[in-house]
Amino acid sequence: MLVVEKNSLTEEIEELVAHYGNDRASLLPILQDVQRKHSYISDYAQQEIARVLDIHPVEVYGVISFYSFLYSKPMGRNIVRLCQTITCDLQGKKAVAEAIERELGIKFGGTTKDNRITLEYANCLGMCDQGPAMLINDKVYSYLTPEKAVEILGEV
């Protein structure tokens, strides 16, 4: 990591802490914002957040590793989460999943070579009446068919 990059990240984190308040309770919103911008929370970012909030870096890592939507390793630019829970499963999740895997040439858990898409399963997205459903970043897509899902991913 370049020094200028480090400096700008530090500045960014200090701004976030000023915005949310220098308080442990600000940790989750800060992590969510850092990740939204950088797609993950790097070791350096974790150390800086810990330093500014005056907690141990392990505390920060512990929180990141607990939540399934927070990442300490680089992810693709877009995160696709297909719902794997019961109703979406009944409504044809498997066929959608297989079509996506074939089309992108990766398995669930993987990232495309061009870093465009990381593919994951998620638990119940609360779209059970409109399944199968998936999230792409923070947007939700419902009533998926294999064809429709692949088409949507093509536009990401």
């Binding site: 600000s26 829970t85 638990n123 059970c128």
Partner: protein, 402 residues
């Protein structure tokens, strides 16, 4: 995502309501009067546990502290539940005003809406709505022009953890910690967010509060049964023609619900999501009410073509992933139950071992630290009990598709 409906039909929550009604009325009422109306209504928590709302508020109101908090639990993660999505998208007025009323009643100035990370797409519309409320003096300083009636709402996002729907895990998460459940007692009413008295209410409970304050506790009680007053929002999904959110009075029979949503050839109904109980046809005449089948409202319908072992496997995989790992019965127990389901699927089980797993399930129900591990064996136990004939004998001689 399809546009949500704008004119839903329902007798209580979905009944007519003009923005600001509850807050304006509450501004003119004393805290005791508000508590009184809630008490008369006999409203119970709509998240599933069914704790009397007036008792929770009374305890928080009575706790001595300079700071108190209201938390709206919008971490709707139970499989098959999506009523909060509908309430937050279509009826934010009911939810947010319920929070303001709660704030006045317990003496809190700050409220948090803990919104699950999966619902991040709602964030903008919810923030816009809060701004409008501020403009209309329904939120912020001197609400409705009443000096001292101050209340502000902040929205906090979760990050994909089912366990954070458990109220003490939710509080931990709000405090910037791993979402691991606390020991109870002490309860949040005395020791909640930042160890201050806190009331944590479900989205639907707060929506009901707005209607009760506006129309009265007696009105509310005219719906439902003697022991379960009012209505319930049911999130219906699975094998039926009309899935969606339905507002029905407590006391509705499973069979009546199935007819309403046009479910055909129904074999089983899972009430309460993955942590709920699976009912066979012989029990479809039972009623949805606190005194019979108490539930947070998730209804998943399975028709005759479904393999119940596959269903159970999906539930157990869910719990293995979502167990926070803090206590042993839940962390290890769910893995063992899932292995048992896989043995059934592969026909490598022995009845002796399955019986041991049933014992393990019962042990988990009494020894797990929080509601997750206490309820995760429910579907394992109920599906094996109610569908043993099909699972071990029927369907291709006990063979199961993968």
């Amino acid at each position: 995502m399809e546009n949500e409906k704008t004119n839903r039909v329902g007798s209580v929550i979905f009944s007519e309501y003009e923005r600001g009604e509850a807050v304006k009325k509450a501004a003119e009422m004393s805290r005791e009067d508000i508590l009184g109306e809630i008490k008369i209504s006999s409203l119970k928590g709509r998240g599933g546990a069914g704790f009397p709302t007036s008792t929770k508020w009374m305890l928080t109101a009575a706790a001595k502290s300079d700071e108190k908090y209201v938390i709206c639990n919008a971490d709707e993660g139970e499989p098959g539940t999506f009523k909060d999505r509908v309430l937050l998208l279509e009826y934010p007025k009911l939810v947010f005003e319920g929070m303001v009323v709660a704030g006045k009643t317990i003496g809190a100035k700050v409220g948090f809406l803990y919104l699950r990370g999966e619902y991040e797409y709602m964030l903008k519309s919810l923030h816009d709505y809060l701004s409008e409320m501020k403009q209309d003096q329904l939120l912020g300083k001197s609400i409705c022009g009443k000096e001292g009636f101050d209340f502000d709402i902040q929205i906090r996002l979760g990050s994909g953890a089912y366990i954070c729907g458990e109220e003490t895990a939710l509080i931990e998460s709000l405090e910037g910690q791993r979402g691991e459940a606390r020991n109870r007692p002490p309860f949040p009413v005395s020791t909640g967010y930042k160890n201050k008295p806190t009331t944590v209410n479900n989205v639907e409970t707060l929506a009901a509060v707005s209607q009760i304050v506006t129309k009265g506790g007696e009105w509310y009680k005219t719906y439902g049964t003697n022991k379960s007053s009012g209505s319930k929002l049911f999130s219906v999904s699975g094998d039926c023609k009309k899935p969606g959110v339905y507002e029905l009075p407590w006391g509705t029979k499973i069979s009546e619900l199935l007819k309403l949503v046009e479910a055909e050839k129904t074999k089983a109904v899972q009430v309460g999501g993955a942590s709920g109980v699976c009912f066979p046809k012989s029990q479809f005449e039972r009623t949805l009410a606190y005194e019979d089948i108490s539930t947070g409202g998730s209804i998943i319908i399975f028709n005759e073509s479904r393999d119940m072992v596959k269903v159970l496997k999906n539930f157990m995989e869910f719990f293995v992933e979502e167990s926070c790992g803090q206590c042993t019965p839940c962390r290890i127990g769910n893995v063992k139950l899932l292995e048992g389901v896989e043995m059934i699927e592969d026909k490598t089980f022995t009845f002796n071992y399955i019986n041991k797993l049933k014992e393990l399930g019962k042990t988990m129900q009494v020894s797990s630290k929080c509601g997750l591990g206490q309820s995760s064996p429910n579907s394992f136990l109920s599906i094996l009990e109610n569908f043993s004939e099909e699972i071990f004998n029927g369907r291709n001689g006990g063979k199961h598709e993968k």
